[in-house]
Symmetry: C2
Subunit: 239 residues, 2 copies
């Protein structure tokens, strides 16, 4: 059955090419977003960058918001990887320290990606922002109402550490570990978000704020391990 085989091979090639183009679109999109932000990712610009017509994009992605969704998923995977690199740290406080730093470093190193992941979801849930000039279906949050799900993995890694802290009776606050995790997350996000907005928080470097915040959220555990104490530790990055 050589004819059958060759046909199968052809369709297989087709599928691979299709997949490859889709991947290439995402790759170029990611780079544009990284450098100029999602707001400046237009279908025209994207099409020109991959040397196709704008119409071709719509064969692989339902809309611009659909691309945003894919990029967000990739970003969350990237952040999760950064966290995974520290899961081997046995001490939960030390692990939280490492993860907290990693989180803020991720946000400051990839500001536009971070913005896309955590700061431009407004349009998906409210009647608010990101109402651009174009047509409907444009908002980055569209296409998936459960867009928060991809970040759940990283949040639960933080929560796990708090559970361990609580189990070892090293957690001062008497609240649910999940609530602590969300509180710490909010704190870290606040640092990144204010820094990304440029004008705000002009005085204190982000690294110092991170140290302070980690101290604040589980200081006792920290104080018994001077390895991670903040005050007498030179700031490595002065972003």
């Amino acid at each position: 059955m050589p004819r059958m085989a060759s046909q199968e091979r052809r369709t297989e090639q087709r599928r691979e090419q299709r997949e490859a183009l889709r991947e290439r679109i995402l790759e170029v999109s990611r780079e544009i977003v990284r450098r100029e932000g999602f707001a400046s990712l237009s279908m025209r610009k994207l099409a020109e960058a991959i040397d196709y017509s704008p119409a071709a994009l719509y064969l692989h992605f339902k809309s611009r918001g659909d691309i945003a969704r894919a990029l967000r998923v990739q970003g969350h995977a990237s952040l999760r990887d950064a966290f995974l690199a520290h899961t081997s740290i046995a001490d939960p406080a030390a692990r939280l320290n490492a993860m907290g730093r990693a989180y803020v470093e991720f946000g400051l190193a990839e500001p536009e990606t971070y913005r896309l992941m955590f700061m431009e979801l407004a349009a998906s849930a409210g009647p608010s922002s990101e109402a651009r000039a174009g047509s409907p279906g444009d908002a980055p949050g569209n296409g998936d109402a459960h867009a928060a799900e991809p970040g759940a993995a990283t949040l639960s890694m933080i929560a796990d550490a708090f559970v361990e802290l609580r189990a070892a009776d090293r957690l001062p606050a008497r609240a649910a570990p999940l609530a602590c995790a969300e509180g710490l997350w909010a704190n870290l996000h606040g640092i990144v978000a204010l820094k990304l907005n440029g004008a705000a928080l002009p005085e204190t470097p982000a690294a110092t704020l991170v140290e302070l915040s980690l101290d604040a959220w589980f200081a006792p555990a920290n104080r018994t391990e001077p390895r991670f104490s903040s005050a007498n530790r030179p700031d490595t990055s002065t972003r």
Copy 2:
């Protein structure tokens, strides 16, 4: 000199009418932003709302970004007022508690105003976001490079409280009071920002997170004053 007087009266009336119209534009703008967000405030829509032509707006505001700037100033004044209501609290920890709550309540009560004030400044300082379809000079951050200044008053109120805490030796962390103030601010901002983005932080109510955060940042002072302890205090608002 009756002729002179009448002329003066006329120009005075003119000036008042001018001022009144400008005030009316701002008032309507504020309401539109409050309900639909700044991104959806277009000069056309605004003009129709005040029953003038779009061109008339440019007699009172240089650009759309100029309106944004005026609205931000008003918002900061409003937030400052909310803080001023608590400056009379003598105990610095209690004062910080009240101000922290007020901050988050402000953000959650006026999400779009808050967004305009703290989350849409990106375009002013970076090559990023808010690149809309229209012409240049559109970004909300334009028109004043020192846009962070209006918020300085509220920040220094927080910093003052930390200075007092430090003076009374009730501040656990050994860092500069200003850094603590910015850290706490970042924490509060993170809570509001994540809540405003809807999808994120689905589990824990904001009020609980605020309590936890305030506890985290100056817990010892808090624990000696059970009046403000959080765990055994019913959440009044479950936003």
